[in-house]
Symmetry: C2
Subunit: 206 residues, 2 copies
């Protein structure tokens, strides 16, 4: 199981410093939507050094104009996110573009109905990302949600999960064996020693 660390709501300088520190420690470094909307892809591209070990995921949250956004995004990152709430035409066009570039696409499954989910689980190489809205006031059990999703959509090969994942939940998900990547934000980046925190997650997950 891969560890994805989410960097968000910090200055670009801080994000670059965290990405450098964590590059050798984790599998995927995510730059959050706030960094893209606050600073823009051009500045991120100019200031972020090429990662040596981790893949770079940009949380674009594309919901329309898929080809334009993915074309710009793949000049910077390896994995881009698109909303499952986008139109099926948007999802199809970004999937085709992603396959043509040999890159990866991450579908954010937040706030979509079962009917819509059933319509869009037909992209075999896409990563399906399960989480609640950060704004949601409801609770979230990552392992139970992943198990439920897997039972309903057994054809989906690549599942990612996020949402208040702590060491105990990361270990539980690793043991469960369904999830391909787990996303951890503040439990790593908001600690006094993000490298040590990331190493602890890697230990319990492997």
């Amino acid at each position: 199981m891969d560890l994805q660390v989410a960097i968000d709501r910090v200055t670009l300088d801080r994000a670059v410093a965290l990405a450098r520190q964590l590059d050798e420690q984790v599998d995927i470094i995510e730059l959050g939507t706030s960094l893209i909307k606050d600073y823009g892809l051009e500045q991120i591209h100019a200031q972020l050094p090429k990662l040596r070990h981790a893949k770079l995921l940009l949380d674009l949250k594309t919901i329309d104009e898929g080809e334009y956004e993915f074309d710009k995004g793949f000049a910077v990152g390896d994995i881009l996110t698109v909303m499952g709430a986008a139109s099926p035409d948007t999802l199809t066009s970004v999937y085709e573009l992603t396959q043509a570039r040999s890159k990866q696409m991450f579908i954010d499954m937040m706030e979509i109905t079962d009917a819509k989910t059933a319509q869009i689980v037909d992209h075999p190489d896409a990563i399906y990302g399960i989480h609640h809205a950060k704004d949601s006031r409801a609770g979230f059990d990552a392992a139970a949600t992943v198990a439920d999703f897997h039972a309903k959509y057994p054809a989906v090969k690549h599942i990612s999960v996020a949402g208040g994942i702590d060491l105990a939940m990361a270990q539980k998900l690793a043991t469960q064996g369904i999830t391909e990547s787990v996303i951890v934000g503040s439990a790593i980046v908001k600690t006094a020693d993000p490298v040590a925190a990331a190493q602890k997650f890697m230990e319990v997950m492997h």
Copy 2:
């Protein structure tokens, strides 16, 4: 009926030049999602002069982390967009923030079900924006769609519509009298003389 001109998929310099030219001609100037994701709010804020006449709408397409994005966005613009596909909690929190700041919120109704629509038409001061995905391969009749929406949700006071609006459709929408603002993109900004094109739209609409 107000004219909103959408500026998108151009360089920031070009966007700033267009905004200056069109400020006195139109009611609302929209800076599209591509400008925000390519250049970031900080650069837009630094380079765009304060508009003298038109309101500035930023097409943030917020779908999560509503308070963070709206707080940042209102430092730059007068009207911000949020996706109807966001969680009801996100919509409620950005509505509250918008009301507290005496600003405006635009809910992008793209790709949501009737059931979800019924859940979120309870924000009386919000603008409800109707359009198809730009990536959609289906046709779109703006006047018929607006009439249908108004019949289903008569309590909604502020309706905006976009999608291939030409002069004839703008005139039809003005006569129909339901729509509060109409969004025009390439039919103004991709012409040789955007000011003259905007003036023609204003003439047929008033």
